[in-house]
């Protein structure tokens, strides 16, 4: 175990000496309230071994929009946020699966394969408005349900975690 930790340290050090390496920029420290914490097998960290995000940091990331209906809401709504894939790349995630945890302690495992272009996003806006906890905010993993049948299954619904607060990248 100590050898493994040692190797990881070296990797972290390497990334520190190569500030512009890869797609991800140097991860700045969060200024506001942390609304998302990414832990586990990631290369970019800003608070200890975690990557912590406030709303501004998330909003600064490339915004993607999904216009879809959901089983939990009425009618078609426009969700916008950061693509799960983009976020994982941003933190240099190297794992096979994600363990997503909600404020209400709901926990679900999302395979890394789900994080694709035009796949799920971590929505922070609903119809251009920030989402409150009462509206299942502030972060909600939204799949493009209307876009493809494969996204309309019980499993996908269960992965559509709202009131998201942290992601643990499993190796």
């Amino acid at each position: 175990m100590s050898a493994f930790s040692h190797a990881r340290t070296i990797i972290v050090l390497c990334t520190m000496f190569l500030p512009f390496h890869g797609a991800a920029a140097e991860l700045a420290a969060p200024q506001g309230d942390v609304i998302l914490t990414v832990t586990g097998a990631i290369e970019q960290t800003n608070v200890g071994k975690t990557a912590a995000f406030d709303i501004e940091m998330l909003e600064a990331l490339p915004v993607e929009e999904i216009s879809t209906s959901t089983i939990w809401t009425d009618g078609t709504n426009q969700f916008s946020g950061v693509s799960l894939k983009t976020l994982l790349e941003h933190v240099g995630a190297r794992g096979n699966a994600l363990e997503a945890i909600a404020i209400n302690d709901y926990k679900v495992t999302i395979p890394i394969e789900d994080a694709v272009i035009d796949g799920p996003i971590i929505a922070h806006h609903l119809n251009s408005e920030k989402m409150s906890v009462r509206e299942r905010g502030p972060l909600w993993i939204i799949y493009p349900y209307d876009k493809h049948r494969k996204y309309r299954s019980e499993v996908i619904y269960s992965r559509s975690i709202w009131q998201l607060k942290s992601i643990h990248v499993l190796e």
């Binding site: 939990w72 209400n104 009462r134 509206e135 049948r149 309309r152 619904y157």
Partner: protein
């Protein structure tokens, strides 16, 4: 058995409709099943159950938060968060699409409303300042306690409702599955059925394929077993297939030949152009000159380039790629070789036969010349003083010579007919004269052994035309034979008209005898060459056995038929049937000089005669004949000399040989006629070995008056000279010279009576005549004794008349002499002659009695 080849149109439509129905049914159920499965896939039931269960949890968590908030500072944020979570949960329940069904339940709606009411009541406090919230915590807590039952109830109702709904869904799905299964089952059955049909079809087609395989194997073995080469080509001329025989015949391996151009492989170079023309003609016009035309003989080429004859038969058929031609080719080299050898052998045999015929003809011809000399000299010898014994020897020698001559003539005739030199003339025929002439010629021989010749001629209504000479030859032969083979009795020559046609008539000439007859076995070969029958009898008769063969050939040349009916011991009857055309012209030819006439030379005017003849013997014989008759003669040894002598002095007659070296007889005649010499109008008589009708015409054209056939006989020559004496030389011709002075009765005259009188009348006439002669002779004798010359003269004259009617020429002559003697007062001569007439009259009486007896027989 399923009809594969011609399914009905109705069947096809029904099948299509059924298939369409099944497809629609399957598609519709498939679609419904798919939808059901999709909805099952996306049915978020678990999520709903989870949410309902979480509602209770969230409620408890908030309650917990409110209860613990008293003890800890800052725990209000915890309350707020739990409130928000509960808020979001209830919000989801009241708005979420998945809960719509749940919300349809009245109780559920009321429960949600109750929960919502709670949220609305305290949301202000939660969002407000800390103190009022902290103050309200006990209240919120108790309110939550009140709601716990509601949440519980809601959860349970949800479970029950969803269970119910799930059951319904399951039932529906089950129904759907069942229907789909049934359809699937039906489909499977249909598939099984189709499979069965397909299997059946497969079996059928497999057995057919096997059948075709067998049949094609059979066909292949048939084709390969064929001894003839079989080559199949397409219409581009490419070889598609060939059999083993073709490999052997042409010397090509099948591998090399198939796919190659047939023409360049099998057609000899010099036939290529014709072949290509033929092929392109067929392609352009479809005209087939060789194809489907049966057997054709052509040449073909082997692999080594040698050409060989083939017999070819080409059939055509339509293949999927167009016309194909199937050629059956037989190598006929050997056959052709055989044929050629056969043809060569035949030609050689024919040539040899022709050489033989030619040899015979030449030999016969060469034999005739010395024979002519012999016979001429014998004739001359008769004129000299001879003792009786010498005369007998001379007669034997003469008749032997004549027989030999006849044989030579027969052989020559056969030879001529064989080489096709016979040609038929056509003249108006006088059947009466023809038959009479033949009868006359044969009478002396017949009389020698007591045979009488009777002629019965029926004249056709319209004169007919034919070759008189040849008909005479036929009749002479038949009658000669009849006389020869009839030891005693009679020979009848008849001519009947069998049928009259508008422009022709069928006649039958028949010769019947009462002779020895011909055995049945001999009858079939009697007309063959060199056949003599009855060896025992043969001693007494002579013959080459060619006579009948000549007759048959002549009759056949005239498109006629010759028959024989014979009974051994009773006689034979030969019949010749000919269909002759009606005579249209007026040309008439008279008979040639008859043989058998009196050999003694009558006293004629002495003439100055020129003989032009290259053959020394002939010249000598003719010269002697003429000189012995008291004529003056001059000789020329060829045409030139003849013309020169005719130019110098006048002759009363010129005898001109036809064939001479240098200038021949016709050229010489022309020269004399066209010149202005003293012989310009002198009668010229041609001398020839053989006369053909067209030659005779040619001789006449050159200016000859007549033509004599060698051998020249005294009698013939004498008859001709007598005519010359009587007539103007320019109209000279020969006729039948009749002289039957030796005969008691000229049977011709009697035979003529038979044809004109009925047998009864004839018989009565003859008996009366007989009586008149008998009585007249007695009367004459009495009158002679009484020397009543005037009465005698009248009596003699009367008997002479009767004798003339009967044809008793000799008696008639004797009576005429007596009459003359009476007239001139030579009484002693008359009395002496009367002694002679008694004998003659006896003969006449005897002959007549015999004759009457034959009439009775008939």
């Amino acid at each position: 058995m399923i009809s594969l080849s011609r399914p009905g149109v109705l069947n096809r439509i029904l099948f299509a409709i059924a298939t369409l129905l099944i497809v629609v049914l399957v598609a519709s159920y498939g679609y419904r099943l798919f939808n059901a499965v999709t909805s099952l896939r996306s049915a978020p039931h678990d999520n709903v159950q989870w949410t309902l269960a979480q509602l209770e949890v969230d409620l408890l968590m908030l309650t917990n938060a409110t209860l613990t908030a008293d003890e800890k500072n800052g725990a209000l944020d915890q309350v707020r968060e739990r409130f928000d979570i509960l808020y979001s949960r209830i919000n989801t329940l009241s708005q979420g699409r998945v809960f719509a069904e749940l919300r349809n339940n009245e109780q559920v709606r009321l429960d949600i409303d109750a929960l919502d009411t709670f949220l609305q009541r305290y949301v202000g406090l939660v969002d407000g300042a800390d103190d009022p919230l902290a103050a309200a915590l006990p209240e919120i807590s108790s309110a939550l306690a009140g709601l716990r039952q509601t949440a519980r109830k809601l959860s349970l109702t949800g479970v029950s409702l969803y269970a119910q709904s799930s059951d319904e869904h399951r039932a529906k799905f089950e129904q759907l599955l069942l229907t789909a299964s049934l359809i699937a089952l039906a489909l499977i059955l249909l598939l099984v059925f189709t499979l069965a049909i397909l299997y059946r079809l497969f079996r059928v087609s497999k057995s057919r394929a096997e059948e075709i395989q067998h049949s094609s194997t059979r066909q292949l073995s048939t084709i390969n077993a064929s001894l003839d080469a079989i080559v199949v080509i397409n219409d581009a001329g490419t070889i598609i297939e060939m059999n083993k025989a073709a490999e052997t015949v042409f010397g090509f391996a099948r591998k090399t030949a198939v796919g190659a151009d047939m023409a360049s492989l099998l057609v000899p170079e010099h036939y290529l152009e014709a072949h290509h023309i033929g092929m392109s003609r067929f392609r352009d016009t479809g005209e087939k000159r060789v194809v489907d035309q049966g057997r054709v003989e052509l040449s073909a080429m082997r692999a080594d380039g040698t050409e060989f004859p083939v017999e070819l038969s080409i059939g055509s058929a339509l293949d999927k790629s167009g016309s194909i031609f199937i050629a059956y080719i037989r190598d006929i080299s050997q056959r052709i070789e055989g044929q050629n050898a056969l043809t060569k052998a035949r030609d050689e045999a024919l040539a040899a036969d022709r050489a033989k015929s030619d040899f015979i003809a030449v030999m016969s011809h060469e034999m005739r010349t010395p024979l002519n000399g012999l016979l001429g000299v014998l004739d001359l010898l008769k004129q000299t003083d001879l003792v009786e014994r010498q005369r007998q020897y001379l007669n034997v020698a003469t008749s032997s010579g004549e027989i030999l001559l006849r044989h030579v003539n027969d052989v020559l005739d056969i030879a001529r007919i064989e080489v096709g030199k016979i040609s038929l003339d056509s003249h108006i025929l006088d059947f009466g004269a023809l038959v009479a002439g033949v009868a006359d010629v044969n009478r002396p021989a017949a009389k020698a052994h007591g045979v009488r010749i009777i002629a019965k001629v029926k004249t056709p209504a319209h004169p007919l035309a034919g070759d008189n000479h040849r008909l005479r030859q036929i009749l002479l032969n038949l009658v000669g034979n009849a006389v020869k083979f009839t030891p005693q009795g009679k020979v009848t020559i008849g001519l009947d008209v069998l049928q009259e046609f508008p422009d022709s008539a069928t006649i039958e000439m028949h010769v019947s005898d009462t002779g020895i007859g011909i055995s049945h076995d001999d009858q079939s070969r009697i007309f063959d060459d060199f056949v003599t029958v009855d060896a025992s009898y043969n001693r007494r008769v002579t013959g080459t056995g060619l006579g009948l063969a000549v007759c048959k050939r002549l009759v056949e040349a005239m498109d006629g038929e010759i028959f024989l009916e014979s009974t051994p011991g009773q006689g034979s009857r030969f019949s010749v049937r000919l269909t002759l055309p009606h005579a249209t012209g007026t040309k008439n030819i008279q008979d040639g000089p008859a043989t058998g006439a009196n050999d003694t030379l009558a006293s004629v005017k002495k003439l100055n005669i020129l003989i032009v003849e290259d053959n020394e013997t002939n010249r000598f014989v003719i010269n002697e004949m003429l000189r012995s008759a008291g004529h003056r003669t001059s000789e020329a040894i060829d045409g030139h000399e003849g013309v020169a002598m005719a130019q110098e002095s006048h002759f009363d007659l010129i005898l001109m040989d036809i064939s001479m070296p240098g200038m021949d007889g016709m050229q010489a005649t022309k020269a004399i006629r066209s010149g202005n010499g003293p012989c310009r109008n002198t009668a010229i008589i041609g001398l020839t070995a053989h006369v053909l009708p067209e030659e005779q015409l040619q001789f006449a054209k050159t200016g000859m008056q007549h033509c004599l056939t060698k051998p020249i006989r005294m009698a013939t020559l004498n008859a001709l000279l007598m005519q010359l004496d009587d007539n103007d030389p320019s109209t000279l011709s020969t006729g039948v010279v009749k002289n039957h002075l030796e005969d008691p009765i000229d049977l011709d005259v009697l035979d003529e009576l038979i044809t004109t009188l009925s047998p009864d009348v004839l018989r009565a006439t003859l008996i009366r005549a007989l009586k008149e002669i008998d009585e007249g002779i007695i009367n004459v004798k009495i009158l002679a004794r009484q020397r009543a010359f005037d009465a005698l003269k009248l009596a003699v004259h009367k008997i002479a008349g009767t004798a003339a009617i009967l044809g008793a020429t000799h008696l008639n002559q004797q009576l005429a002499d007596i009459e003359n003697a009476c007239k001139t007062g030579r009484m002693d001569d008359a009395l002496a002659a009367i002694e002679g007439i008694a004998e003659s009259a006896d003969k006449v009486t005897k002959t007549l009695e015999e004759y009457i007896a034959t009439i009775d027989e008939d």
